[in-house]
Symmetry: C2
Subunit: 238 residues, 2 copies
C-alpha cells in the first residue's frame, strides 16, 4: 500500500508434494464500483482457503440484515468476517487434517477501500486474528515470503509511485520463483488507485507474457551488471 493506492498480486502454484503441482487462482475480488473494492489473496491449505471464501460468499446470500463482505461499512469488519470464516473452517476441518498431519494453516491479505473511509490493508493470520498495515510497514507478504522481501525493503516507501510498485511486486515474485519451485507463473495482479472505488488494472501474467519476459530478462541483466561493477576485495592472494 502506497499513498497512490494498493497493488496486490498472487501466484497460482499449489503444491501438495513436488509430484503434485497444480495451478489455482489465489486472488478473489469483491467490487461494487463507487461503493467498494475488496481484494483478497491467500496462501496455505487450498481446501481451507476455498472453504473460507465459500463461507464468505454464502454470507452474502443470507438474510439482508446480517453483516457480509458487501454490506459492512469498514475494511476492519471485512477482516473480522474473514477471520471468523477461517476460524469456523479450521474448527470443522482441522481435526481431520491433523489426523494425517496435513498442515491446515492459511493466511489472507485483504486490501481495498469502502466508501466513507480510507484505503486499508490487512493480514489475517491462520488463527483468525489480524493486523493492519501502517506507514512504517506498508506491505504484507504471505506464503513463501523471504526470497522476495529484500527488493521490497529496498524500493517501497509510502511515496513510491504506482508504476514502480507494480514493477517491484513483479520483481519480488521473480526472485521467489527463481529460488523456490512451489511458486510459479501465472501471476494475478491488480492495482487500486486511492479513492477511485474501482480497480484500475486487473492482469494475469503467464509464461508467454511479453512484459513479464522482458522484466525477468532485464532484471537478471541489471543485477548481474550491478554485481560486476562492485569493486573486488584487495587481498594478497592475487
Amino acid at each position: 500500500m502506497i499513498d497512490a493506492g494498493i497493488v496486490l498480486a498472487s501466484d497460482s502454484r499449489t503444491n501438495a508434494g513436488v509430484d503434485n503441482i497444480s495451478t489455482f487462482r489465489k486472488m478473489k475480488v469483491f467490487e461494487r464500483p463507487g461503493d467498494r473494492v475488496i481484494v483478497m489473496v491467500n496462501s496455505g491449505n487450498l481446501a481451507v482457503t476455498q472453504a473460507t471464501l465459500n463461507h464468505l460468499e454464502q454470507g452474502m446470500r443470507r438474510a439482508e440484515g446480517a453483516p457480509n463482505i458487501m454490506n459492512v461499512r469498514s475494511m476492519w469488519e471485512v477482516a473480522e468476517l474473514v477471520g471468523s470464516a477461517l476460524r469456523e473452517v479450521r474448527h470443522r476441518d482441522g481435526p481431520f487434517l491433523m489426523q494425517t498431519n496435513v498442515d491446515a494453516s492459511a493466511n489472507f491479505i485483504i486490501g481495498g477501500q469502502i466508501a466513507g473511509e480510507e484505503q486499508r490493508l490487512f493480514m489475517v493470520y491462520t488463527e483468525g486474528n489480524f493486523i493492519e498495515a501502517t506507514p512504517e510497514t506498508p506491505y504484507f507478504q504471505i506464503g513463501e515470503v523471504k526470497y522476495g522481501k529484500p527488493i521490497i525493503d529496498r524500493v517501497i516507501t509510502a511515496g513510491t509511485n504506482m508504476d514502480d510498485a507494480v514493477k517491484c511486486v513483479l520483481v519480488s515474485f521473480d526472485s521467489t520463483m527463481r529460488s523456490n519451485l512451489s511458486v510459479g507463473l501465472p501471476i494475478d495482479l491488480v492495482c487500486y488507485e486511492k479513492d477511485s472505488l474501482h480497480l484500475s488494472l486487473v492482469r494475469r501474467f503467464d509464461e508467454q507474457d511479453p512484459y513479464m519476459r522482458t522484466l525477468r530478462q532485464k532484471w537478471g541483466e541489471g543485477v548481474r551488471r550491478a554485481f560486476a561493477e562492485l569493486p573486488r576485495l584487495e587481498w594478497d592472494g592475487h
Copy 2:
C-alpha cells in the same frame, strides 16, 4: 565451492529473543599447512554447537590411534566425526532443552581439503547425517538461508572466479542483514585456493570495514539503478 577453491563465511549474531543479541564467532578453522585445511561454520543453538566443537577438540587430545579431525585421511570422515559429536551432545543435552521448549537444533558446513584427496564441501544436519556438495549444487547455506539465496543462484557456477565468489558471499550476507535482525556484522570470511593446503585469506568485516561499507553502498545503488531501468508496464490507468 568453485573450481578455484572454497569461500566460507559466517556472521556473528546470536540471539535468544530480540532483547538478547550477542556476538559470537561461528567459524572454526583447523589448519596444518601442507596437510589439511578444514573450516567449519555453524548455526543453531550456540550451547550445542560450542559443545560439539569442544567434543571434537577433546578428541584431538585423546590416545593417538583414535580418529580425530587432525588425523583422519578424508573430509568424509571429518563430516562423520562432526555428525557423531553433534549426536552425542544432542543426546546428552536435548531432553533438558526440550523441557523448556528450547530449540536444540544445530547445523554445520564443513569445507576444505586433506592431502591426498580433492577439496570437498559438506553440510551436517541437526540429526547428524550429512550431504556433500556436487557440481549441480555447489553451495550450502545454514541458519537464515532464504534472503541471501537469490544472488547466489544468479551468480555462482563452478567457473566463477574467487574474487566474484567473495563478492557474492558478502552481497548475500548484506541482503540477509537488511531483511533480518538476527543476522549481523561482523562477518568472518576465509578463502581456500584448491590444492594449496593453506588458507589464502582470513578476514573479519565489521561495521567500520571500508570494503564492506563500499560494497553495501554500491550494491544498493546498483540494484536501485537496475530497478529504475526496468521498463514500466503499459496500462490504461496512465
